[in-house]
């Protein structure tokens, strides 16, 4: 059964079809459809309970690559990891990459994912040159900023609801080497974070911060990075993935006690101010643990990611205080500022401001009540919550925080739907 990354209880799809042929017509079905890529979204944007899922990982072929410009066209089920495997040795990198490389490019478009270079490059959708959209009426549309630009805007970040994305064309970027030169800096308190973050953004292509959300004063480590030529010692190697995935556990190994211990050790570990590392551990620290989501046990977990306008730092302080007081939260709390580069997507998540992502073991009502309190703060501050991570926000909150939803709705394919769409859009 296909599930999402958070492993939360959900109604299964009635029919799961392996989809490998981009030229094929959509299946005849009495129910609705939804593309399911690699299942790395956390909540229910990739689920379609009681209806049909098209498992698009079979559509995993490259179509064309221009070595002069770096323009790559490939089928929507190709994983970003597969693009990296082929093109990093040739000196090309993804223009934007999320925190795992195990997402399909179709999913990257549909969720308009962002990465550690948002302050310079914007979201993934900013680098999509063109895509093909297959609708349930059988029509195929080439969508780009120039052609069918309204369909393009609806499909970037459109959560797979505008039809099936069959292929995507992006522009890869040339890079100096597969090493990343990293500058680490500890910070204590949010004021210090914003101060060092501003100068890091000015000087570096990538920035991201880990934050200890259980500490009385928020503290953390800012990691700024740039592509770098291999040093004299040669290029650092990628760490091997752990040979075994964690088993399915009855209870979560992640609890307040293990969190405090981890955060304490992580914050105080030996930290070189400058280091050079392989790109994989910098961008994808958790990819080397297959199925790390199982650490949260049978009940699954939530990720809560929100963005606030930069002026609303007080709200951020308030949120962190609420989370610390709750004793919930996770070791992978990620803090990042978004820049001003606008995505073409109507429902795109990023806005200029600051974003924080945290994992929470599913403790049922206590966890949900915390999220409702956080929603209220985020909403009042003019922010929003990331659909790709969400499994529980209210429709009212989603609609209020996505003012362009009314522009988007007419482009939803009548035969496409998802658990998320039924929960918050209708």
């Amino acid at each position: 059964m296909l599930s999402s990354w958070g492993q939360l209880p959900a109604a299964p799809a009635r029919d799961e079809r392996w989809w490998a042929d981009r030229a094929a017509a959509l299946p005849e079905t009495g129910s609705t459809l939804l593309a399911y890529g690699n299942g790395r979204s956390y909540g229910d944007v990739c689920l379609n309970g009681g209806a049909m899922l098209l498992h698009t990982r079979g559509m995993d072929r490259f179509i064309a690559f221009d070595p002069a410009s770096g323009v790559l066209r490939c089928e929507a089920g190709v994983l970003l990891s597969e693009i990296l495997e082929v093109f990093v040795p040739l000196g090309w990198f993804l223009p934007v990459t999320p925190g795992t490389r195990y997402v399909t490019i179709g999913g990257a478009v549909a969720n308009d994912v962002h990465g550690k270079n948002h302050h310079r490059a914007g979201s993934f959708g900013c680098h999509v040159r063109c895509l093909e959209l297959l609708r349930s009426d059988g029509s195929r549309r080439l969508c780009s900023p120039q052609e069918n630009s309204d369909w393009f805007a609806a499909t970037i970040g459109g959560l797979g609801l505008t039809g099936l994305i069959t292929w995507v064309e992006i522009e890869l970027k040339p890079m100096a080497g597969s090493a990343i030169a990293v500058e680490n800096a500890r910070f204590n308190g949010l004021d210090e974070f914003f101060a060092i973050n501003a100068s890091a953004e000015a000087g570096h292509e990538y920035t991201v911060a880990w934050i200890d959300c259980l500490a009385a004063t928020p503290r953390g480590i800012l990691m700024a990075g740039d592509h770098a030529a291999p040093g004299e010692a040669g290029c650092p190697r990628a760490p091997s993935p752990l040979p075994l995935a964690p088993p399915r556990l009855p209870v979560s190994l992640i609890n307040e006690l293990s969190l405090r211990a981890f955060n304490q050790l992580y914050y105080h570990r030996r930290l070189p101010a400058n280091s050079r590392m392989h790109y994989a551990p910098y961008f994808y620290p958790l990819d080397s643990i297959a199925h790390w989501n199982r650490l949260y046990g049978r009940r699954g977990f939530f990720q809560y990611q929100f963005v606030l306008p930069l002026a609303e730092r007080a709200a951020l302080t308030e949120i962190l205080r609420d989370i610390a007081a709750s004793g919930q939260g996770s070791f992978l709390a990620v803090l990042k500022t978004f820049g001003a580069v606008r995505s073409p997507g109507l429902l795109s998540f990023p806005m200029p401001g600051v974003t924080l992502a945290l994992d929470f073991p599913n403790h049922g009502r206590a966890t949900l009540a915390l999220f409702d309190r956080l929603d209220a703060i985020v909403g009042a501050a003019g922010g929003r919550v990331y659909a790709a991570k969400d499994a529980r926000m209210s429709g009212e909150f989603f609609r209020r925080s996505n003012p362009r939803l009314d522009e988007f709705t007419p482009y939803i394919d009548p035969k496409f739907s998802s658990d998320f769409a039924r929960r918050v859009m209708l």
């Binding site: 490998a20 079979g58 072929r61 064309a64």
Partner: protein
């Protein structure tokens, strides 16, 4: 490693495609043969992006024995010769339907065995003449012992297993390698209707095993390797007992 010129028959099968991707990444020259020109073109484009030095395509139904010679000529013209041939086409018969139809049974034997033997015969002649070559053929663990659930498929795979044994013996002193590949259960579109358990392997894993066996010039390889032990056991169950098992 010297550049390899590789002919793949049944190139749109999931195992063949996954194998071709590994060879493409090494910069091989490839020549793809299959029934559907449009599928071949899609796969060829993918393999070019992945690094293949060249990719040619040829539309052919492998059971069209009369078309084999022209196909081989086209491959030789396109690549200047053949170093490796992978025969990967096949079908998974509906056992129950075959039991009620002689015509269907013979058609499955034709697809899975006779067409393979015809191709292997021509390739053996070519490789023997040039004094080099690797002929790799996808058989199956099903060919190791007849079972009620799929003995028509098993009989065909068993036939090519014996044929390749003889061919290997004949060509052993001619610098020609003959490799019999015996995959176990593989999750492919051909087996989409089966419910899967831990015994099922992904085509990518089988492909890595095939490339490794070709590199090592192996004779017979079970993929994944544990099937070697499983089939050893199954081959040694006495027939008096075996015939009563629900396999």
């Amino acid at each position: 490693m010297a550049m390899q010129r590789i002919l793949i028959i049944g190139a749109s099968s999931a195992i063949a495609e996954a194998t071709a991707r590994i060879w493409a990444a090494r910069g091989a020259e490839l020549f793809l043969v299959g029934r559907r020109a449009d599928r071949l073109a899609v796969i060829a484009a993918d393999l070019r992006v992945r690094g293949a030095a060249s990719v040619g395509c040829h539309r052919l139904d492998a059971t069209d024995i009369d078309g084999h010679a022209a196909m081989l000529d086209a491959a030789i013209v396109a690549m200047g010769g053949i170093d490796i041939a992978l025969i990967a086409h096949g079908s998974l018969p509906d056992q129950k339907a075959c039991e009620a139809s002689v015509a269907m049974t013979l058609k499955e034997i034709d697809t899975n065995a006779l067409s393979v033997i015809a191709l292997a015969t021509r390739l053996a002649e070519l490789f023997e003449g040039q004094g080099s070559g690797m002929l790799a053929v996808i058989g199956s663990v099903a060919g190791d012992r007849g079972r009620q659930s799929n003995y028509i498929y098993g009989a065909a795979k068993g036939m090519i297993g014996i044929f390749l044994q003889g061919l290997r013996n004949r060509l052993a002193r001619r610098n020609v390698q003959v490799l019999t590949i015996k995959p176990g259960f593989v999750a492919t579109p051909m087996t989409a209707a089966f419910s899967k358990n831990a015994l099922w392997a992904r085509p990518e894993a089988i492909a890595r095993g095939i490339v490794r066996a070709v590199d090592k010039k192996s004779d017979v390889v079970y993929l994944p390797g544990f099937w070697c032990a499983v089939m050893l056991l199954i081959r040694h169950i006495p027939e008096r007992l075996f015939k009563r098992l629900a396999l």
